[in-house]
Amino acid sequence: MRPRESRSFPHKSQNNVRRLFSLKRDYYAGALMMLLGLITAHEGSNYPMGTLYQMGPGYFPIALGILLIFLGALIALTAIGSTVEEQEFSMPKPEWRGWACIIAGPVLFIVLGRSTGMLPATFACVFVAALGDRETTLKGALVLSTVVTIFGVLLFHYLLQLPMPVLTWSGQW
């Protein structure tokens, strides 16, 4: 009995764990919405609410917040009844490198755009973002960012006259 038990047990518990985890997706979804609703309603309660006749600025945020809490609860509750397959947690393989590069690109655009102007900002943004793809080579990223930078500066600075200096040093980051 014993060996059989030990063999089947991990399998079963793994299944249970997976099941719980699978079911959790809509729990998370519901919880997130309830949290957002709570924040909204709480913020809304800082403003005068007024009456239904003469609604104050706080009325709508509070109403929407309560609605969000209600809908979030509903999402979580309906997940209880659903089958596991429906709730399969489709968490993809984490793409940390890709995600980081996609976020870092615009962040660099903001930082460099404020301090040094459009040209370095564009170049850095495209270059860093391009590194997010596993197949991109350093050379490929360089060529791409150079091309986009030239095109972007020509289009946005000279043609569309966006009020953003091409190259500057504002001294502030």
Partner: protein, 513 residues
């Protein structure tokens, strides 16, 4: 009535044929066709990027161009589906089913040719529908008071969120979230800053471009990166002379084409059922009434003609509620409405009489744009096919730059770029949690107007919430909304009783819409 419509249409043509307007229209359809072909770019992201560039333009030119991107991308999306079996654009997912087998048989050119014809037929019908139906709707809607406007918006929002893809409950939640994001900023009546969390920069609210590009730009890139969609270019050699369909093929596709057109134009009238649903419904119908349904999926030319015709008639028809009532049916329409609002134009039934140049110019530009698209797609097919091969690794970094500069250009404000990043990360979390974020934009655009009308209705009725059911027209809208919710509850209960998996629609690697 026909006569006035024709006079107005002639006026519209005189507007649309102005050299700069025709140039912007051409640019719009060209860019649209291009992003339609490129796997991984969608019309929503493209329109959002272009939106800030239109601030300095005249409203007519701006709207012609942005609308051109939308219907232009539908032409391009079909190429992607038929030649590569890539359903990059949801409305064309169903075209893959018969389009790709045709391509494998070496008849890809014929399929594309039939697609162009069907698209043009569908679009023409959609435009005609708009010419006659929109003024009719307007004459009714002009009598609406705040209570009616409110309940109509409620119906539009509910339909937009429950009939679209994904769980209806989550769709409604996304709409409410959008409404909430829409009220960020100074209150219209008292000027109180709301939900700004102490940030001065949020006083003017969230920029529509920041929201759209966060959710449909950055979040979409985060999902698509390193997903390695295999491009099978083996069959994608199509030249112009392959595109003329034989007489027999043409004969086989005429009836499905007209049936598809009809279904598409009906779907366009129901808010929330955009081109995607139209194409699925028409394909299913075509299969059902066919004498040999088992042949569908193996390369039936009618299976290409009907969804394409219905997509295009629905795309054009989509503009009807947007332009005549000010109620957008889907994300793209919400963006176009946002573009109008930015230009200082109040959307709603008064738009046609106050800005006839926009309304009739837009309709006339649809004709011109569709003819331009036919011209663009037939002789230049080789070019579009080459564009298919642009890899995603070059596409998304460039797009990311356009996102940044587009959001910055909206207000010359770096804060909004930061906000876009934040919204992007949040949007990706929503995608992971299986939310379809499209209704957010609907709620966002309608939110402030909904609140304004609601407050006004309450003021007029002295705080009587039942005013919405006391007015007969408003009561109809409220009743329909209640019916929609009851229907969803019924469907949910039925699914609980007989748990069966509905056949999944063709998987979409990117839901750029």
């Amino acid at each position: 009535m026909v006569e006035t419509a024709l006079t107005d249409l002639m006026y519209g043509f005189s507007v649309a044929f102005e050299p700069h307007n025709i140039m912007w229209c051409f640019l719009g359809v060209l860019v649209g066709n291009m992003v339609g072909v490129l796997p991984g770019m969608g019309p929503v992201a493209t329109i959002s990027i272009l939106l800030p560039l239109t601030f300095g333009m005249k409203p007519v030119a701006a709207i012609l161009m942005l609308a051109g991107v939308y219907y232009g991308s539908q032409y391009g999306g079909a190429i992607c589906s038929i030649l590569l079996n890539l359903p990059c654009h949801p409305p064309h997912a169903v075209t893959c089913l018969d389009g790709y087998p045709l391509t494998k048989m070496g008849k890809g050119g014929t399929a594309l040719g039939v697609t162009v014809i069907s698209s043009f037929v569908g679009a023409s019908w959609g435009i005609t529908e708009m010419i006659f139906l929109a003024p009719l709707l307007v004459s009714v809607a002009l009598k609406f008071g705040p209570a009616e406007v409110c309940s109509l918006m409620l119906l539009g929002l509910l339909a937009g969120s429950t009939l679209a893809r994904g769980s209806p409950l989550k769709g409604i939640t996304m709409t409410v979230l959008g409404l909430t994001i829409g009220i960020v900023g100074a209150d219209i009546e008292t000027g109180t800053p709301r939900l700004t969390f102490g940030l001065m920069e949020l006083y003017d609210g969230v920029e529509i471009v920041a929201l759209a590009l966060g959710v449909f730009g950055i979040a979409e890139f985060m999902r698509s990166i390193n997903q390695d969609i295999k491009l099978d270019m083996r069959y994608a050699n199509v030249r112009m002379r392959d595109m003329w369909p034989s007489r027999e093929d043409l004969k086989k596709s005429i009836a499905p084409m007209f049936r598809g057109t009809l279904i598409g134009s009906l779907c366009a009238l129901i808010p929330g059922t955009g081109p995607t649903i139209a194409s699925f419904v028409s394909y299913a119908t075509e299969k059902k009434i066919s004498r040999n349904p088992e042949k569908f999926g193996t390369g039936v030319i009618g299976g290409v003609a009907c969804p394409e015709a219905s997509t295009h008639s629905s795309v054009q028809g989509d503009f009807i509620p947007t332009m005549s009532l000010g109620i957008p049916g889907d994300t793209t329409m919400a963006l176009l409405l946002g573009a109008l609002i930015i230009q200082g134009i109040v959307p709603g039934p008064q738009l046609i009489s106050q800005h006839p140049d926009i309304f009739w110019g837009l309709i006339a530009s649809f004709w011109i744009g569709n003819i331009l698209l036919v011209v663009l797609n037939v002789p230049m097919i080789g070019l579009w096919v080459k564009l298919l091969a642009v890899p995603y690794k070059y596409l998304y970094p460039s797009a990311l730059f356009f996102v940044c500069i587009g959001v910055y250009g909206a207000n010359n404000d770096m804060f909004q770029v930061g906000l876009t990043i934040f919204i992007g990360i949040f949007g990706y979390i929503l995608l992971l949690l299986d939310f379809h974020p499209a209704p957010i934009l609907l709620g966002f655009v309608l939110g402030p107007r909904f609140e304004e009308n609601f407050r006004r209705a309450m003021l007029i009725s002295r705080g009587d919430i039942f005013v919405f059911v006391k007015h007969p027209i408003s009561a109809v809208f409220v009743g329909l909304s209640a019916l929609l919710i009851l229907l969803q509850v019924y469907l949910w209960l039925r699914r609980l009783k007989w748990p069966m998996r509905l056949p999944q629609a063709a998987a979409t690697p990117s839901q750029a819409e």
